[in-house]
Each structure stands twice: as C-alpha cells, then as structure tokens.
C-alpha cells in the first residue's frame, strides 16, 4: 500500500484548515478537557481522603479504583448506554448520542486514574510537609492543599494520564456518542470510521494530531517539573 500519498493528503488537510477535520479535533478536545476539569477537583479531593483519612471501607474503595483502571472502556460504554437509553433510568435526560454522554463516559474512565494517582502521590509525600504546614499555623484544609501543591507534579502526571486515556478512547465514545458527524464524531471514532472506509488521509491526519497532543502534553509536564526543581 502507498503510504506517501495519504500522508501528503493528511498534511494538506491539516495545513489548509479543513473544517470537517478541525471540527472533529474540536469535539475531541472540548469534551475531554471539560471532562477532566469536572473530574479532577472531585477525584483529587477523594484521593486525598482515601490516602489520609481512616474510615471503614477505605481499603476496599482503593482496590476498586485500582480494578477500574483496567476496566474495558467498551463495558463502561455499555453501562452508560443502558443508563442513558430511552428506557434506562436516566433516559428522560435524552443524553444518549450527544457529547454529554461521551463526557459522562470520560468522567467514569478518568475518575479512578486521577484518584489512584492522587492516593499514590499523597501516600508517598514526605509527612513533614503536612506537619510543617500545621506547625506554622495552617489549618487542616490549608495543610492538605499545601501537601497537594508539594506533590503537584505527581498529581499532574495523573491528569496527563487521564487526559491521554480519554482523548484516545474509542469504545465508549463510539457506543454512547454514536459517531455522528459534526456532533459526536471525535478523533478516535473518526480514525476508526475513515480507516474502515479506506480513507486513510483523514485517519493519518487525526492520528498525527493525537501523537502531537500526547508528546506536547508530556513535554509540558517535563518542563514544569524542571521549573519546579525536580531533576
């Protein structure tokens, strides 16, 4: 198969600002970014509580979150589909085959990743951080925020990981989004569709965007870590 011609076409699509292509990229980005933005505060607070507070069932929740990390996204898609379908318990909201359904799936996928990364970061944090903050007069919430700030790069690695997972996820987005052009078609579902149709140029162009996104975010994280004094 000739790879050169579709690759050349892919570059052309990207450079000429093809509206259809950039529309797909836009759907992917806003849904993923909003899902992470909504999930992160809750997951980080939950991760802190799981790492620091002692309560019944804490260990079971951590194990469940770890198990959810390897949960197939297509099963998450199936569950959300059943919940949102017209006869499902959340059917009245008519969210199925909308970007909001995809976002709900992304939240379910991202939540355990962010929680597990936060638990690990907080448990691995130097206990002197919290103690120093408390001894300098910080109240518990402020001392918790100070600890999270000190381990921010580990938490940010969780955010990057979760974003990478949802932005490249295909199974759930396909099931609950329906791959509707101009509405729910995002980068991975479009790649799957275009490749199946034998239209490789768009698939390659979108694949390049995903790769650039992945590299760009990780380079940014490494740069921030460098500025933060981590060698």
């Amino acid at each position: 198969m000739d790879l050169f011609e579709p690759t050349r076409q892919a570059f052309a699509l990207l450079v000429t600002g093809d509206a259809k292509l950039w529309g797909i990229i836009w759907v992917s980005l806003w849904v993923a970014v909003l899902a992470i933005a909504v999930t992160a505060p809750v997951a980080i607070a939950g991760g802190w509580a799981l790492a620091k507070l002692k309560f019944a069932g804490r260990r079971a929740i951590v194990v469940l979150m770890q198990a959810l990390l390897s949960f197939p996204t297509v099963v998450i898609g199936l569950v959300i589909y059943l919940l949102l379908s017209r006869r499902g318990p959340l059917g009245v909201f008519e969210l199925l085959f909308t970007p909001w359904a995809i976002m709900l799936g992304y939240i379910v996928i991202a939540l355990p990743i962010l929680i597990v990364f936060t638990v690990s970061a907080v448990q691995g944090a130097d206990p002197r951080i919290y103690e120093t903050a408390r001894s300098l007069g910080a109240r518990p919430l402020r001392a918790a925020l100070t600890t999270l700030w000190e381990v921010r790069f580990a938490v940010m690695a969780g955010i990057v990981n979760a974003f990478g997972r949802v932005v490249s996820e295909v199974g759930c987005a396909l099931m609950v989004g329906g791959n509707i052009a101009g509405l729910t078609r995002n980068i991975p579902t479009a790649i799957a569709l275009e490749t199946a149709k034998g239209e490789f140029a768009q698939g390659i162009a979108l694949g390049m965007v995903l790769v650039v996104l992945a590299i760009g975010i990780n380079v940014m994280l490494a740069w921030l870590q460098g500025r933060g004094g981590l060698e």
Binding site: I129, E131, G137
Partner: protein
C-alpha cells in the same frame, strides 16, 4: 507565683510494648531556654512532637498558659503559638522568601508587612542573598537557618527545636549554633532537644534530661 507557660504531667507514651514515658512531668517558664538531652531513642523528639500537637495520642495532662488540652483534641489556637522545627526541616518547593512568608500569611499578616518582616528575618539568618533560591539549592546549614528564621519571625510563645545542629559540621554548624544562641538570649521560650555538647554547655539554657522514662531537671 506565676503559672508556667507549659506544663505536662502524668505523661505516658508507649510504642507497642516499648514505654517511652511513664508519669513524666515537665514545666517550662516563659522567657527561659531549655535543652533536653538523653540517649538516642529515649523519646526527645516524641516529647517535642507531643507538645507541638503532632502526635496522634497524648496520655497525660498538657497545659499551655494554664489551659488544658484534652487527649482527643489539641487546641487549634496553640498552633499559632507553638512552633516546631524538625531535625531535618522541610522547606516547601518555592523560594526561601516564600517559605518564610508561609506562617505569616496563615496569620493574616498583610503582604507589605510580610515582606518587611521576611527581609528582616533573612538578614538575621544571613540569607539575604538567598531569598529567591529554591530549597534544593540551599546547603544543609542554609536550610536549617531558613527554617529557624521561618519559625522565629512568627514570634512564637514557645519554639521547639529538634536537634538543630545534627548532620551539620564546621562553619554550617557554627552559624546555626549562633542563631540558636541568639534566639535563647532574645527572651524567646525555647526547648531544644540536642546531644550537641556546645548547646548543652550554653549557660543561658536550663538542662533537662530524659532518663528512666521521666524528665529530670538538672
């Protein structure tokens, strides 16, 4: 007779089967400096941490300004008055200046006043030229001096220093020792856990020894 600034009585503490304190008593007068010595592992750090409210359990009576702390709850207000400095102090991953500002910000000191007080404390610690340096670029001695300055500028009613000269030698140790001496001369109430013979020899300090699970005043 004036009540002591801090009083501990009937203090018990154990780690598993190991008993650290068994009915220990301690009274600290305001404006005095104390050095607490004792064998390794006898509980000097634990005692300081109990006073600072950093130990989960406290069995016995702890009174500060004649107000008791219950075993279940260490009064939040005491944290504004009792400052503990770790043997290896932790400096937040920001600049030295921001580290010094942290406690003042928690006390609601306005930014302009904060900066002036931080500058003064940096001068006091000989770190004026290290104000914008991150902690990983400070030497061990500089980090200890920054932590002492961070604690001192809060003007605590009681300052708890855990082995401030441990892990330091030569000039770094001497500089820290000078600051510790200055703190003690300066009418602060200071309790220092230390083995350092030079700190133990400081005439301005009252000597306490942890032995046989009790605190002995020499």
């Amino acid at each position: 007779m004036r009540a002591p600034l801090l009083r501990m009585s009937g203090l018990h503490k154990r780690f598993g089967t190991r008993v650290l304190f068994d009915g220990a008593e301690l009274a600290l007068e305001a404006g005095h400096g104390y050095v607490l010595s004792g064998a390794n592992g006898c509980g000097k750090t634990t005692l300081l941490r109990m006073i600072a409210g950093l130990e989960a359990s406290l069995h016995g009576t702890l009174e500060f300004r004649a107000q008791p702390a219950t075993t279940a709850r260490y009064p939040e207000a005491w944290r504004r008055e009792i400052v503990y400095v770790h043997q290896q102090p932790y400096l937040f991953h920001t600049t030295t200046e921001k580290n010094l500002e942290y406690g003042l910000a928690r006390r609601g000191v306005p930014p302009v006043e904060r900066q002036a007080r931080v500058r003064e404390a940096l001068e006091w610690a000989g770190l004026a030229d290290r104000s914008d340096v991150p902690p990983h670029k400070l030497s061990g001695g500089e980090a200890q001096r920054a932590a002492l300055a961070r604690a001192k500028l809060l003007n605590p009613a009681l300052l708890l220093l855990d082995e401030p000269t441990a892990n330091l030698d030569g000039n770094a140790r001497k500089q820290v020792l000078d600051l510790v001496t200055a703190l003690c001369i300066d009418d602060h109430t200071v309790l220092i856990a230390s083995h350092d013979p030079e700190i133990m020899r400081l005439a301005i300090l009252d000597r306490l020894t942890l032995a046989e699970r009790r605190i002995v005043v020499e």
